[in-house]
Amino acid sequence: MAGNAQDVTPPLTEAQMKARRKRSIALALVIGGLCVLFYLITVFKMGAAIMNRQL
């Protein structure tokens, strides 16, 4: 049965799937790297004060 245009999206080709997988991995690495980067920026900005924590 014919649906709307979105239902007839052709399946991805092998090349498209491979490219999408690579892009997903790269994006994950970038996002993970950014998390680490901002964490380290915070730590280095606080400097020695990071140890000054009331228990």
């Binding site: 014919a2 991995i25 790269a26 950014l34 920026i41």
Partner: protein, 312 residues
């Protein structure tokens, strides 16, 4: 074909086969390497101290910001990149990345690089980076490039800002010394690019880009190259004359400046055939070496002073 089939094939055409390397190519890595190097020199030459980790983050942010402006440039210039041999294999004209992907990529990286630089160092440096991206993408790419033969003269400012940003990351401001570093790259840009434009003038003419050789002719361009080189040599010596740099820098600036004058003279004198082309390529290549030599000498002097206490 039915409407549904048309819709399906259209959607299939929009599905990207772009690899991460295509997105890296959007950042113009070769230009980025110059941005990184000159920003590093500005950062090391600046008076004051910065934590090495924050310095690395600042360089990364400046590099990504420069790359983002390259992506925005490729997004806007995709139409002319298609007709120029030098740029036809870029990711958008090659059909690997869509224009909207490049635009989103450039905007997101711009925002992240400016925010990261601001959070890691200071907001003056971040503001300067934001202005540099704006200058390259909007003032140069959208405003000047297709309208005036002075496009790369004014647009050269965008490539000249990185050492000022590096300097600002340490000091939180600008000074005459950082402005001198800006001025060296600013005045270096016209003879460097006009040497390339002389060789590629057919490409630029086909794309409708009013580079100086296309609009005013090769003879006028040759005169302009000589004039800008005459201006560049004393500007290259300015860090030494103002006491910002030492003897090593002066030696490189004098020898390199002499080399630039020889290259400019060769371009002026050799106007036909292969010798003329060779003179243009020599100027293009040597000017890169000259700029690298100036900044490398400054970097070595500042590092020797900081690490070993040696005044070179």
């Amino acid at each position: 074909m039915s409407d549904l089939g048309m819709a399906g094939s259209h959607q299939a055409a929009l599905l990207s086969e772009a690899a991460p390397s295509d997105f890296i190519a959007l950042l113009k890595p070769r230009v980025m390497s110059l941005v990184v190097f000159t920003a590093l020199v500005g950062l090391v030459a600046a008076p004051g101290t910065i934590h090495p980790f924050m310095a690395a983050v600042a360089i990364l942010a400046i590099a990504v910001g420069g790359g983002a402006s390259g992506a925005l440039n490729m997004w806007y210039d995709a139409d002319i990149d298609r007709v120029m041999g030098r740029t036809a294999s870029r990711p958008i004209p090659a059909g690997k990345v869509t224009e909207s992907e490049a635009l989103s990529f450039g905007l997101i990286l711009s925002a992240f690089s400016v925010a990261t630089l601001g959070l890691a160092t200071n907001w003056f440096a971040a503001g300067l980076l934001a202005f540099t991206i704006f200058f390259y993408a909007v003032i140069y790419t959208m405003g000047l490039k297709r309208r005036t033969a002075q496009n790369i003269v004014i647009g050269g400012a965008a490539g000249a800002f990185p050492p000022m940003i590096g300097w600002a990351a340490v000091t939180g401001g600008a000074s005459i010394e950082s402005f001198i570093l800006f001025l060296i790259i600013f005045i270096w840009t016209p003879p460097h690019f006009w040497a390339l434009a002389l060789v590629k003038s057919d490409d630029y003419a086909r794309a409708g880009v009013p580079m100086l050789p296309v609009v005013a002719g090769p003879d006028v361009t040759r005169v302009q190259i000589v004039l800008y080189t005459l201006l560049l040599v004393p500007t290259g010596l300015a860090p030494w004359l103002t006491g910002m740099a030492g003897t090593l820098y002066a030696a490189v600036a004098i020898l390199g400046g002499a080399g630039m004058l020889v290259c400019a003279a060769a371009i002026y004198l050799r106007r036909d055939g292969k010798p003329a082309m060779r003179a243009c390529w020599q100027m293009f290549g040597f000017s890169i070496l000259y700029l690298f030599g100036l900044f490398a000498a400054l970097l070595v002097e500042k590092l020797a002073l900081r690490v070993f206490g040696w005044g070179l």
